[in-house]
Symmetry: C2
Subunit: 258 residues, 2 copies
DNA sequence: CCAAAAGTGTTGGGAATACACCCATGC
DNA sequence: GCATGGGTGTATTCCCAACACTTTTGG
């Protein structure tokens, strides 16, 4: 065992402990049947010609969430962002060859169909087939994809991928693209409706040429993150007073867009 | 829509974007039938007399995980830490009244029964009944508790709460304390054994005075984080080629102790 | 023999997948 | 009428909670 002693909460030296801090965003959207991420092409070294996540330095009096939104404004119409959540903070001293930089990554979701004007150096790329990327950004995209996939299964996070109304077939395509495997429209509808995640509207979509029964348009009952499938196992027994974890309802994170 | 234009990845000014960065640890252990967290009592303002999470400033060439371990060495025997994972990064400019400080919080788990020597200003406190705490540390503890509770249900994270071998009754008490509600020993055993999380050893425990059938001692099959209950819903169809998410297997984070 | 504690057998319910079948439209 | 796509009915499977019952010990 190491020496046990009193620990000061003051930094040791004067200039010790100040770091460049940047924020990065994995902006994900289902486009053309694929889950895609917004990347911009670096014009300068390091990683010249490679693709990178949008982001930038944290501002002096700024919160991380606010900072992501601010930096994203230069790339996309931020009002299109339906969900924003912190992923993780990377601190490898060598992750940026120029200087030591701590980076906090965010996951941002944009509903399908929104097609923001993009600067010329910026475009959407398949999450499953990334072009050459710089820094540790590829692994951050992986992290974002896994977070999205997990939360699609036990929350109502689909709202952030879907337009205001949609047919079940359209929703199936969105889930299928995001999850990376085929999804049955039949079971998707039943599962989400039983959980109260989606609800039918009065409106029906018109069938395309070639006919077919007109599809009901659905919408998400809530457009904020809710845990709909709390725990598969070890749920409290019938009688037990159970305090719902306050994390269950989505508190908009720092600088969330709504 | 905001002006769309090229975004430099260079910080704007010279001295802009350097921040004090600290790490904090929620060290959790089940003690005396309760989930408890390690806190130390502040001797100086701000929050003099209040309790706070252990931690301290990030070092110059240091990764966050390494830093947590280093700071914890002053409080506990770090070899006792069975699991360490990053929780989230807090950036409220006012979270520390002295100066603007970004903090990255970690969850650390210590198996029941380990009783490290502690410095005099440090002790264990019920997670459900925290004493007066300083900064945003109370909400960090809440965050840690919720992360633990969630992962107990769909991973094998119990290994980090349990000693090397244990009876089902002992394990039941650990889960019950961590989850905050009664747990059935019968169903706990069946569920964890079906998932391959725990396995019986050859050894049996001796019954206490008053008799009773001797209990089999069990152990966790793996002592690293594994997702055992991947998704309740939207599992890929039978035939579909499914690439297991690489996040499924626990990569020891920066500075993990093992 | 009885109490105490551990572990198994069994049942029932809920939720998800799979698949057959019915419905509503265009042509 | 018939092709096309949407939606429902239903069976099956699996997982888990509940609870009764059996097993193995100490006294």
């Amino acid at each position: 065992m190491s020496a046990v002693g009193k620990l000061s909460d003051r930094p040791v030296g004067g200039s010790v402990g100040r770091f460049h801090h940047e924020v990065l965003a994995s902006v994900l959207e289902v486009r053309d049947g694929e889950l895609r991420v917004l990347l911009w092409r670096r014009a300068r070294p390091p990683f010249e010609g490679c693709w990178a996540l949008p982001g930038g330095p944290l501002g002096a009096g700024e919160r991380l969430g606010t900072s992501v939104v601010r930096h994203l404004e230069a790339k996309v119409d931020v009002t299109g962002i339906a969900h924003l959540e912190q992923l993780e903070t990377r601190s490898d001293p060598d992750r940026d060859p120029r200087r030591r930089t701590v980076a906090t990554a965010y996951l941002a979701l944009v509903p399908a169909g929104t097609d923001p004007l993009l600067p010329p150096d910026t475009s959407w790329h398949q999450v499953e087939r990334l072009p050459p990327t710089g820094f540790d950004h590829a692994s951050i995209v992986t992290s974002a994809r896994e977070r999205l996939r997990a939360k699609l299964s036990y929350t109502n996070l689909g709202f952030a991928l879907a337009p205001p109304t949609f047919t079940i077939a359209e929703l199936r395509d969105l889930y299928s693209a995001a999850l990376g495997h085929p999804v049955s429209a039949t079971n998707l509808q039943r599962t989400l409706q039983r959980r109260g995640v989606i609800e039918p509207t009065e409106v029906q979509s018109r069938p395309g040429a070639g006919g077919g029964r007109p599809a009901t348009l659905y919408r998400f009952a809530r457009r904020e993150l809710l845990v709909t499938n709390p725990f598969a196992a070890f749920r409290p027994p019938d009688g037990a007073a159970f305090r719902p974890p306050e994390g269950a309802v989505f508190r908009p994170p720092e600088g969330a867009v709504r």
